[in-house]
Structures are given as structure tokens and as C-alpha cells.
């Protein structure tokens, strides 16, 4: 739902970095999105096509790298990837968990010309 704001930030960051390199064009953007970041790729792509128009990033390809959520059990140390409502440690049935990865919302790199 907040993909427009997220996509606008992606464009701002990319244009800033491209500007520092005196780039003529941005051809590719590499995004890292955690499974729990609540971001829908298709929506980002939809907004991207609209808001990048007329900038040096127009027509650039968005690459999405999805990072699965990974939980650590604070009782036994087990690491696992939840697939549904599995907020219980599969090893010791512990219920105190910490998210180790999966909430990323990052622009990792851009390709420029």
C-alpha cells in the first residue's frame, strides 16, 4: 500500500548516486526486499514506470532480490524460515523469537552509463 512512497525514495536515491557519477542514464536498479517488508514487486514496478518517466532512469530495469524471513529461537538458538503461522520454534517449541533477516528494504546497487 505504501509502494508509491517507497518507489519515490528509490528514484531519489538512484538519481542522487547517478548524479554524483555524472551518469547519462540509469539502466538497472537492484533492490533487496525482505519477505516481511510488506512490499509488492508488481506495485513498485507499476509506480516506477510512471514516476521514472522523463528522468535519466526512464526505462531502467528493476531487479528484485527477495530475502526470506529467518527467525532465531531465543531459547535454543534454532534458526528457521517460517512459511505460515509458525511462530513456534520447530525444535524446542519455544515462543520467544527474533527476526534475523527478512525485513530488508534496500537499494543495493545501480548500473549507469
Amino acid at each position: 500500500m505504501h509502494e508509491l512512497a517507497v518507489t519515490q525514495s528509490v528514484l531519489d536515491i538512484a538519481l542522487r548516486h547517478a548524479g554524483e557519477q555524472n551518469a547519462r542514464r540509469i539502466t538497472d536498479l537492484y533492490l533487496v526486499l525482505g519477505q516481511w517488508s510488506s512490499i509488492v514487486d508488481d506495485s513498485v514496478q507499476f509506480y516506477w514506470d510512471i514516476i521514472s518517466a522523463g528522468t535519466i532512469a526512464q526505462g531502467a530495469t528493476l531487479h528484485f532480490r527477495r530475502v526470506p524471513a529467518e527467525l532465531v529461537c531465543l531459547d535454543c538458538g534454532q534458526v528457521y524460515q517460517p512459511t505460515g503461522e509458525e511462530l513456534i520454534c520447530p525444535q524446542c517449541a519455544g515462543t520467544r523469537l527474533r527476526l534475523r533477516q527478512g525485513d530488508e528494504l534496500q537499494l543495493e546497487a545501480i548500473d549507469i552509463e
Partner: protein, 223 residues
């Protein structure tokens, strides 16, 4: 010649930076701020009304209400005795640091001890946008169902307290409190919790005491 440029920036870093500036402004005036989040209809505004009335004469209270349209919530807070600023997000599903910044400019912060920011009703987007508040609170409610922590882990993971509202409806609604609390405990071990009903008033004193203690702790760490 194509070039690969490493960026490695958090996409919402600009918002995060402005959130820090908001907090610096609040700190300069000595105002403790809370971000109240919930789904639509969970009882954010009701809880705020009770909070305004319950703290009248004890704390000077300011409000920022975020809503897609209308000023109904700000009107309710004002009627209860708070100074309230309404932000209409014009369709946006969350408040962000920019909107809060412009609202802060309209308030004379030195007139307040506590600033309550009522976010847009939504369990997804507000969790990603820091505002610069010192604490964030989630208002959950019995009729929403006991599966919400599992469905909205981002929201339940990032808050400092969970208020479980409408407990007067427990006899009428299938709601497994154990299951609900197990989800909270898994995502946010040890988080402060309140069970209350804004309708009957049950459980409200503990919430009011917590808010007052938070303001006091904030003052103590600053003096």
C-alpha cells in the same frame, strides 16, 4: 561504458533522517511523544479520548491526528480537552516524518508535556515509517480476531506496548487470548501489554499510569 555502482542504502533512509530531526525538536522542547497505531476501528480515538480526560490536570497534552480525510478524530480529541492538529494524508495510508514535521511547526511544543500522534488506521504501512516519536503503541481489539500478530508481524514486532481493547466483547466473540498472546510473545518478547475496555473503563487506570510513568522516565533521563 556501463558502470555498476554499489549504493546499499535503506530505501526509507530519508524518512528516518527526518524522523531523527523531529525527535530532536521534541527533545529541545522536552516533549515526550507517542505514535499510536492500529487497524481502523480498533479504538485509537476512543483510547485517546480517555487518555486526554484521564490525564487532564496532570499532563499538558497535544495531539496530531492522521487521517485520509475529515477532521472527525481531531474534533473528538479537542472536545476531550486536547490541543489537536489534523493531518489529512490525502489518500496516503500512513503518516511519515515529513507530515509530522509540518504538523510540529503548527504547535507551540513548549506548551506540552505529552504529544500523542494518532496514525492512519492500517496494520501494514505505518510500521515502516518512523515519525520521531519516543515510543510506539499498537491498539489491538478483540473483534479483529486472534490471528493478527501472525498476519501483521511487522507491526507487532516494532512497538513498545500493545493495548488489547474491547475486552468487554470477549464473551461474545471467538477469540483465543492465549493464541493471540503467544503471537505477540514470539514477535516481541516481553513487550508491555494492557487489556482494557474503553467502553466500560476496565483496565484503563493501568494504561494511564504507564503513560504517566513514561513521561516521568523521559524527564528523569533528561535532567
Amino acid at each position: 561504458m556501463p558502470q555498476h555502482i554499489p549504493v546499499v542504502e535503506n530505501i526509507l533512509s530519508a524518512n528516518d533522517r527526518l524522523a531523527l530531526e523531529n525527535q530532536a525538536e521534541l527533545d529541545a522542547a522536552g516533549v515526550f511523544a507517542v505514535n499510536i497505531m492500529a487497524s481502523p476501528g480498533a479504538g485509537k480515538t476512543s483510547l485517546i479520548e480517555h487518555t486526554v480526560r484521564g490525564l487532564a490536570g496532570k499532563l499538558r497534552l497535544g495531539m496530531i491526528n492522521g487521517d485520509v480525510a475529515t477532521s472527525l478524530d481531531a474534533d473528538r480529541a479537542q472536545a476531550a480537552g486536547a490541543v489537536a492538529i489534523q493531518i489529512n494524508t490525502g489518500g496516503d495510508c500512513h503518516l511519515d516524518a515529513v507530515m509530522v514535521h509540518s504538523a510540529l511547526l503548527k504547535l507551540n511544543l513548549t506548551e506540552f508535556d505529552l504529544l500523542i500522534i494518532e496514525n492512519v488506521g492500517n496494520l501494514i504501512c505505518p510500521a515502516s515509517f518512523k515519525l520521531g516519536t519516543h515510543k510506539s503503541v499498537l491498539v489491538a481489539s478483540i473483534p479483529e480476531g486472534d490471528d493478527k500478530p501472525y498476519k501483521y508481524p511487522g507491526m507487532y514486532r516494532g512497538v513498545d506496548a500493545v493495548v488489547i481493547n474491547k475486552i468487554d466483547l470477549l464473551p461474545y466473540v471467538p477469540f483465543r487470548m492465549d493464541y493471540f498472546k503467544q503471537g505477540i510473545a514470539a514477535l516481541n518478547p516481553g513487550v508491555t501489554q494492557f487489556e482494557l475496555s474503553c467502553r466500560t473503563g476496565e483496565g484503563l487506570p493501568a494504561w494511564l499510569a504507564w503513560i504517566q510513568n513514561q513521561v516521568q522516565d523521559y524527564r528523569n533521563t533528561r535532567s
